[in-house]
């Protein structure tokens, strides 16, 4: 845990309003991005931020909350909230655009920065288990290390690697990737 996190946590446990504000300023954007990338909805993503930090405040207020790894703790709350949102919606069918490569060469240059394209990726993620989804997003979208991901998921590194492999396999099936 960085010195910054340690100092903030210490002051937050005393319910120092300035520290609580700094925590919010430091992490709210990342939590929003994490939620928006999965939900694709600005209002829902904002709700996720609101609920994540509300639960954080309640935990700190009652003497609970993180003792260390503040970032991982916040992401866990956000992940649980997002998982609840997923449970309320059935997995949508995956509609893929230009998914079938004709000669084994995948041209991806034109497939990025498109909201519709990202929607198809989100739908594919919907088919993963919550833990598989969390691994994929933390490792490859948030670019966390194995150690950071393991801390957020409260698992051993080996378990995270196994989850990651299974998640990629499932995604390949769902997205119907056919590559030589």
């Amino acid at each position: 845990m960085s010195y910054f996190e340690k100092a903030l946590l210490r002051r937050a446990r005393d319910f120092n309003l300035k520290a609580l504000e700094e925590i919010y300023d430091h992490y709210n954007q990342a939590i929003y991005r994490y939620a928006y990338r999965q939900l694709g909805d600005m209002v829902q993503a904002e709700d996720c931020v609101s609920e994540t930090f509300a639960r954080f405040l309640q935990a700190v207020r009652h003497g609970k909350g993180p003792q260390d790894y503040l970032q991982a703790y916040l992401y866990r709350i956000a992940h649980n909230w997002i998982t609840d949102q997923y449970r309320r919606q059935p997995p949508p069918p995956v509609e893929l655009v230009d998914e079938q490569p004709d000669s084994g060469q995948i041209k991806v240059e034109d497939a990025f920065d498109s909201h519709q394209e990202n929607e198809s990726v989100r739908k594919a993620l919907h088919h993963l288990t919550p833990e598989q989804r969390q691994v994929i997003l933390l490792r490859f979208v948030e670019n966390w290390s194995l150690q950071e991901t393991a801390a957020a998921m409260e698992k051993e590194i080996g378990a995270v690697k196994a989850l990651q492999h299974r998640a990629l396999e499932t995604l390949a099936k769902v997205m119907k990737v056919k590559v030589e």
Partner: protein, 322 residues
């Protein structure tokens, strides 16, 4: 388990597209932060004196002069220096007005504090800013009620009346908010009401001051009544705004009609401004009957006052809860 590097490359490149996408409404983001800070401030009010006096991590009571209190001593000195510099720089009236901001009900300068708040409200026109200011003032009233209750002092009813007024002002301004600002504004108000409801419930349960309980109960029920406006059409901000607009208009109409028809009120507005400062702090509306000096005042602040005092159940009985 066999890996397929080409599969992985394809998937990871798709995920890269997801990583690059991000859209966020600046006003919604600001609203979420405001809600968070309002919640933090309200929760901070509930930190008990025991908790404030708890030991630090080294098991020592921090003091201003002890080795663990150096940080506090330095901060206090800096604060005092700033306060002195400000005091010199300000004019007489400005200094008095600034000093009034920390005054409590029953203090000499409290009237000036209230006046300056009303002035700020009168000078604010943007609906969202009015909402934020009204919520801020409601928090101030909650702080005053908390501080007095914890000291075992019965809170003057005018404080509760002003709290109710601030909440009404927030709701009234909310009805004028438009577009994508409706949802975050609604959430801010709703969170503030939830936090206040919890605060007054906690104060009611925790206070050893029996005389404080009636006001705390009344305040908590008032806040709860307002919160129900948001819970009736959960999730639909447009519907909620419409319902609140209707409620506000109804209450304003009742206020307008009140001088002509004293019995026809549901007691929900409760601004009672005309009585500000004149109502005895220990007034018990349940003992006030029609014709008494404070009869009309009690009708505005006590739901069901008309029925409590034996009025018949006809159309003019009023006394319905909001």
């Amino acid at each position: 388990m066999e890996r397929n590097p080409k599969n992985e490359k394809f998937i990871l490149e798709r995920l890269e597209g997801l990583r690059r996408e991000q859209r966020r409404s600046a006003s919604a983001a600001a609203g979420t932060k405001q809600t968070y800070m309002a919640r933090a401030r309200s929760l901070a009010l509930g930190v008990s004196k025991t908790e404030k006096g708890r030991l630090n991590q080294r098991g020592v009571q921090p003091t201003l002069t002890g080795p663990l209190g150096k940080e506090h001593r330095f901060a206090m000195k800096a604060l005092i220096s700033v306060a002195i510099a400000l005091a010199i720089a300000l004019s007489g009236f400005g200094l008095t007005a600034a000093a009034a901001q920390s005054s409590m009900p029953n203090d000499a300068l409290y009237g000036l504090k209230v006046w300056s708040e009303d002035l700020r409200m009168a000078l604010t026109s943007d609906p969202e800013q009015v909402v934020d200011l009204a919520l801020d003032l409601a928090t101030r009233r909650a702080e005053e009620i908390t501080a007095l209750t914890e000291e075992g002092v019965v809170v003057p009813d005018q404080v509760r009346v002003r709290l109710e007024l601030h909440i009404f002002e927030a709701l009234q301004a909310f009805t004028r908010v438009q577009g994508e600002d409706v949802e975050p504004t609604m959430l801010r108000i709703q969170d503030q009401l939830r936090t206040q409801e919890q605060l007054f419930l906690r104060l009611k349960d925790g206070t050893g001051c029996e005389d404080c309980e009636p006001l705390l109960t009344q305040t908590q029920e008032m806040v709860q009544g307002r919160l129900e406006l948001f819970q009736q059409n959960q999730g639909d901000s447009t519907m909620i705004q419409e319902q609140i607009k209707l409620q506000v208009e109804t209450e304003l109409q009742l206020q307008t009609n009140k001088p002509e028809d004293a019995g026809n009120t549901d007691g929900s507005m409760g601004s009672g401004n005309q009585y500000m400062g004149d109502v005895p702090a220990d007034l018990d509306c349940s003992t006030v009957v029609e014709g008494d000096e404070y009869w009309e005042y009690c009708l505005t602040v006590t739901p069901g006052a008309g029925q409590q005092n034996g009025s018949d159940g006809n159309d003019n009985g009023g006394g319905k809860k909001p």
